[in-house]
Symmetry: C2
Subunit: 485 residues, 2 copies
């Protein structure tokens, strides 16, 4: 094994131990690192640059649909959390509590926000007076703390970053419309920008957000066959408006409680990108969110600084002008082979090699990270060709992930089939379900699979004539079962 290859070889193959492979990529690609505090990670610059791309692309969508950003306090008085009964029950086991300010003991404990419905609800009750104040369409980008027992970088951490939308509406219909509009926005975002296909639909009541009337989610399949929830959109009904007394005078001069939604997507999306697209050589980043879309590596021979380097720098300029995020890796302490392996491991979508012979023939070698295919391209058409290849890589990653999901979505008619598929194949298993929590719990206990999502086209009519995989009674819906992160 050459020194150049060692870096890559050190990654445990995905097929051998997926968990270890994931943990090693997070560390070796310098996406994140552990801290001495359990479950709290540092997001390192390379990982944070992915988050900045996600933020920019998501924020644009949130604003294009009429929402505005605001910032609410990090702390929430304990009494506020308690106002909505389900909410406090769901979140209080996970709350980090501030009990002292400087040297003084606080009269009331303050929760470090596990989510912001309570403090935002309080403020909305101050601000909203009339139907003219509605809708309220607010979003915030913030850090969140939940005292988790089992943690893993990006996927489940004590602190994470997210956006949380909190909206108020005049009618139940408008709130439902908003809930579904955001669900669709999340789906389109994941598929377009992250190249990850998702299944969108409702959660069961067992799996809904603590305090919501109904939770909707997008669920993706990771390449180990486990499901990952990538975003949730909640119809809160009037649960919080009644708890926080958020009333408005409607168009008939009658006082009404507002109808609310909330929705969020987190740094977990970075974990999804790793697990949906990565391979044995490391990360494969979708170009749209890759911090570096193309890395230029000069092949150093002889007087390369006079011959090759100027061509590399000129190529980088032409790529930048075409809107490509480029990096020139002209480090002298590493061989080209070592650099190739490193940038592969870091998932840079496109590698561009230029050596002395390439300069002579006016070309560059383009290597795709996804397929590892090579082609020679004339330097004159480099920028155009690179941009087209990046689009193609984005599309190919999505296509591959979609094919994987389709191949790993199976149907079960009986409990035996369900159990067997979950145990031997993983993936999504679509099965008829009676709608009862007894069956939901039994399946979870016995197979470790939960109902991830019920898409609209799997409701009632789709299950007609079918019987619940668990109890054999009439099925109310086809549910997506899976083991999940």
């Amino acid at each position: 094994m050459s020194k150049d290859e060692r870096l890559v070889r050190q990654i445990t193959p995905k097929s051998e131990d997926f968990s270890r492979w994931y943990a090693e990529i997070v560390q070796k690609a310098e996406l994140a690192d552990y801290t001495p505090m359990k479950g709290m990670m540092v997001i390192r610059p390379y990982g944070y640059a992915i988050w900045e791309n996600i933020q920019r692309l998501m924020d644009r969508r949130i604003k294009d649909t009429g929402h505005v950003n605001a910032y609410f306090p990090l702390f929430i008085p304990e009494s506020f959390l308690k106002k909505e009964a389900e909410h406090v029950e769901g979140f209080s086991p996970e709350v980090a509590w501030v009990t002292m300010g400087g040297k003084e003991e606080l009269e009331e404990r303050l929760a470090v926000r596990p989510t912001s419905e309570a403090i935002i609800g309080y403020m909305y009750s101050k601000w909203i007076k009339s139907w003219r104040d509605l809708p309220i369409l607010y979003n915030q980008w913030a850090n969140i703390v939940r005292w988790e027992k089992v943690t893993r970088p990006f996927l489940r951490t004590t602190e994470f970053l997210w956006q949380e939308g909190h909206t108020c509406h005049e009618t139940a219909e408008e709130a439902q419309e908003e809930t579904l509009k955001i669900l669709a926005l999340y789906k389109e975002f994941c598929e377009t920008e992250l190249a990850i296909p998702v299944v969108a639909g409702r959660k069961t009541l067992r799996e809904k957000f603590a305090g919501a009337q109904m939770t909707y989610a997008i669920e993706a399949l990771m390449s180990d066959g486990k499901a990952l929830q990538m975003g949730t959109s909640h119809n809160l009904g009037q649960h919080f408006s009644k708890a926080f007394d958020i009333k408005f005078e409607d168009r008939n001069q009658t006082l009404q409680y507002v109808w609310q939604t909330s929705w969020g997507a987190t740094t977990r999306m970075i974990g999804a990108v790793i697990m949906a697209h990565g391979d044995d050589s490391g990360l494969r980043l979708p170009p749209r969110v890759a911090p570096v879309q193309a890395v230029l590596v000069p092949i150093a021979f002889g007087n390369w600084k006079e011959t090759v380097l100027p061509a590399v720098l000129a190529a980088a300029e032409s790529l930048k002008k075409a809107g490509v995020r480029v990096q020139v890796d002209a480090r002298e302490e590493f061989t080209p082979g070592w650099k190739f392996a490193e940038h592969e491991m870091r998932g840079v979508p496109l590698r561009i090699e230029i050596g002395p012979r390439d300069v002579k023939s006016g070309q560059a070698i383009l290597v795709r990270r996804d397929a590892k295919t090579k082609e020679a391209v004339s330097l004159d058409s480099l920028a155009e060709k690179a941009a087209a290849l990046l689009d193609d890589i984005q599309a190919s990653l999505f296509k591959a992930a979609l094919q994987y999901r389709e191949e790993n979505t199976r149907e079960a008619g009986t409990y035996g089939e369900l159990k067997d598929l979950i145990e031997t194949k993983r993936g999504f298993v679509k099965g008829p379900w009676c709608g009862g929590e007894v069956c939901e719990d039994k399946i979870k206990a016995e197979t470790m699979a939960t109902i991830r999502v019920i898409p609209p086209d799997c409701e009632g009519p789709a299950a007609r004539g079918k019987t619940c995989v668990c109890c054999g009674r009439e099925a109310k819906a086809l549910a997506y079962f899976a083991r999940a992160y």
Copy 2:
């Protein structure tokens, strides 16, 4: 008093009660609001949009100077804070402590970050091995908590938002260079984007950051004659690298401690914008950071929706194309006069009125918020003219603030003069100082003025032959004294 004017009249005039004027603008312009938790504010969408502009413009500068963003944990173990003696002494009285996670009492208290040197120092000690790893040029955008006794929205709040840079260098010279580079960056940012002139220089040791070797700051004069610190840049020397054991192998294979800097600028800048530029009618926002740069108000008469509105919408389109952030205020429940007063109060730099007669003559009326002057402009050249006016407003606000500062920077040769100027005129008072903390403390106790900053051209030679205003001994520098926020 007409109903239209009432909104404006309700603001306490600046000259009558500056503090109340400030508090009212924050609330009425919907920049921020109070929460039930002392000192914790909500940044409302209009205020947050100013922050987003500040972030975007500052982030670009930070990246253009070679820095990258990362994200470090919100919490810091108490033992980490204690590693640097001055640091813990300075910050522990202000720390909010997390003592419980869920139902369990923590073994070690966690500080909600009052600044991040300690946790970042720990991580740097893991990451840095060799001179090849240097410089490390990291920045993070984050929320910060300091348990403040006296609070005021934006200026001093228990929680605030900021960016904090944390860098490591091979040599003391490089760290000093970085410290001053950022100081210059902050100065240029404030003057270019916020239209606020600042004095840049060093702080006294008494006023330096807890743990720094030397603190530099930019100081501005608010329009009530009080000074405001708008950003700080610290040369940390090897204080934290020794405390956290951040060592690297240098070019001679010798282990050395790194040399560090840290620097920050906060949501306080929004408070500075209010206080530096506001007038009796409310806010005056510099166009570069104004969420809305031009508001279009249709003058509604007769069939205005058929005649005026299309012209207004077309004008808005042409402005958007020219890169102007525009808002069309076509609300029917408010009169134009009411809208004028509201947008003035909210500080929108440019108001564009279009009525039936304007449409006929193909023109619009442009009203500058800063000077309140009006002019008619042909609709054909509207976008071009508006863009030019916005530049002029930006320049005029800066010029006015600079003139104010120059008129309010005075020299004192004796203690009597200093006392009298501070008491009767406020503003900056430049006075010779011996460099001793006894004099610094005495002046502070007796005049409530502190040494805000000592610019490089006020050091040693500038004070030659002068004597300290307080003790009469030889002066070491000319110091800027002021009462401050």
